[in-house]
Amino acid sequence: MQKMKLVVVGNGMAGMRTVEELLKLAPALYDITVFGAEPHPNYNRILLSPVLAGEQTIDDIVLNTRAWYDENGIRLRTGQAIVKIDRRAREVIAADGTRESYDRLLLATGSNPFILPLPGKDLQGVLTYRDIADTQAMIAAAATHKQAVVIGGGLLGLEAANGLKLRGMEVTVVHVMPWLMERQLDRTAAGLLQKSLEDKGLAFRLEAHSEALLGDDAGRAGHVRAVKLKSGEEIPAQLVVMAVGIRPNTALAESAGLHCNRGLVVNDTMQTYDPRIYAVGECVSHRGIAYGLVAPLFEQAKVCANHLAQFGIGRYTGSQISTKLKVTGVDLFSAGNFAGGTGCEDIVLSDPGAGVYKKLVLKDDKLIGAVMIGDTIDGAWYFKLIRDGSSVGALRDRLMFGEANLGDTGHQGQNRAAAMADSAEVCGCNGVCKGTIVKTIQDQGLFTLDEVRKHTKASSSCGSCTGLVEQILMATAGGDYSEAPKKKSMCGCTDRTHQEVRDAIRAQHLTSIPAVQAFLEWRTPNGCATCRPALNYYLLSTWPKEAIDDPQSRFINERSHANIQKDGTYSVVPRMWGGETNSGELRRIAHVVDKFKIPTVKVTGGQRLDLLGVKKEDLPAVWKELDMPSGHAYAKALRTVKTCVGSEWCRFGTQDSTRMGQELERALWRMYAPHKVKLAVSGCPRNCAESGIKDVGVIGVDSGWEIYVAGNGGIKTEVAQFFAKVKTHTEVLEYSGAFLQLYREEGWYLERTVHYVNRVGLDHCKARVVDDAANRKALWERLQFALDGEPDPWHEPDKARVDLKQFALVGA
């Protein structure tokens, strides 16, 4: 079969990114030809600034070498601009007359720098800042001339000015607005930025209008000698760089009759008005927006590639963007709506002496914008909060002090990605150090957090180092590459979010995994190891007694009802109600340990005993002979209820915490949940059971019980928040149970209570459980209905649908 022909016009970042994505999905579908006006293979335009500053070389920034095009069978025509598209004949025509026919055409022509229509704009020594040629011209000029003026105090202008300064020139930045980078910064932040750039030796003229560029030859086309301002001032300069903005490069598209409106207009699948012609990148206008940063362009590329590959999945719906300035030694970050407005609140921290300024803008309990200068460690974190759009009410008091301040076990003091040594460990779970990450980003040309995860494993496990990895990515790759999806799909099998899936299961009354996958158009035949366990949980928690458990969609621990160990053996943790045991249980445990030659017995952090190193074949017999309930130490379910001795023995005890804990554990065990659930009950505020870091923590006081929720003692220590104060045991059961049922019904799979409550807001939970007695009772009843008659998998395996055949070997 003859392959279809794809022609790409524009050998830049967005176009080639689309081709790369396409090759991943459908390597053999097209015969590909790429035309690029520049004489170079595709390079990382962003890194022109470090090249200008002398920190990197042109060779360092090449993204796709000529060999790469050859290996992938792509014909690359560099130095060949396309001048015409013949849509009838389906051909493109290059400047030298070459014709190439296409079945699909991809336009990725980027943008052109805007040139102010000033007298003298055509003098020698007047440049813009867009490509390698401009950069080389600036480097050459810096070697022979002394003075430069940069017109434009935005991102590009400041990076150009900084580079020229580092190359030894005297640089003045002329800017019309009252402060620098007015589209990304407020006045205060810009003032601090200006000061730190002045400390580096740059000079500024603000609110200054350039009137003319003066030549050395009085009016004739000679070399530029000075910039004349409206105020009359003349600033001597042998190099003038105009960095006053960009315009989508749509000339070619317009000449072909494609609809343009401040950019080549595309729909959500990146198609132009001619369905054979796609477009991505800065030349495009999507829902009225033309983006000028790579992160959104890469998202466009992904969607476009998917449609070119004829999968027809995914729509581009727009992006949130954030900005960082790539001037070494100046930390600046800006994202979202930083200016605020009606209904917005600002939180500001300002320490001009230290050069630090931070402003966070909140609306309706959500973070909508952030500007930071001097201390941008938390940029990636704030950006994530903005993108996720989740409630930050509970964090409000601590928000300003950053993520590290929320408690970050084992990672403190390592936040300055740039300052970290190459040998310093970034990801504790997978033992990945900074040097490895940096090298992989460079060698493999990675751009997104996801790619770094795949290639290095860093941040792919517990995720606590994600912020750090994002910073390393920014520092190494040059820009802010963090992908900016507004909604995060469950996994690669679908574009649906966890919430969309949950909603569909309820609204459509779906009761099986294949039904969900069919209804929501899963793109894989039977899901993957990420989505199947989540779907199984959503079905069971939404339709208890109706949806049927699918053991093959559970992680091995929940399928074999024991925890898998590194050597393939299992551990067995029987339940000890409230951490209390007796001589009979201890004797049986001792007997089982001897009989099955179990190598290790350990007291766990959850007040019970762990039998480690049990062979899979022995599990059913071990459970039987222990004759104790399953501890569910292996499950996303109720784990332990830790207790202290309480008023029965302790001289300070005000309440019988052991009994309260046991009542809770007996009421809640066998309760599957989005993630594991841990409780604790202490008999007095000395809190020996550590109730302050539990999903539900109960503390006895003279007059009754205080209930705290959404604590976490794991990866990131989170102190539980006060929820309610009640008097009786029955109330403790009802309030705790109702809160947990709310979490079971609304939580996303693998979301602990702390993350759930942060997302929906503590007030939301209080309104439904504490303030609304009828709803609380209804929740508590639904939980009891779900748990009623639930089997103990160790002792009623048939009822619990345990696949008993898995334990034996076959063919023996």
């Binding site: 190891a529 969609s553 399928r559 898998i564 590194k566 076959v810 063919g811």
Partner: protein, 115 residues
Amino acid sequence: MTYIPICNLEDIPVLGARRYRRADGKVIAIFRNAEDRVFALHDRCPHRGGPLSQGIVFGESVACPLHNWCITLNDGCAVAPDTGTVERFPVRVVAGQVELDPAAGIATELACAAE
């Protein structure tokens, strides 16, 4: 090739696996996918030896239970960017019986390295 009967196809759950232990102690994992195709691999993940038979099976792959590497069942290759291969074994279904040749292990080093 000397195939020996191992179990009935129905003894292996759809999207699941069973284990067979050779006389020399080596364990072979036998997988069944949604289309009732069977695959046999040495029960040892190329990463750190995790028992693949205990993983979640989807499409034509299994996710290792220890650190979630993904292994393709028909060729025993780890899915990029991870690299490594698992020895695979001839296995077939004859009249509802799963038959395995536990002696004829095939290492796929070359096929995967070329990927």
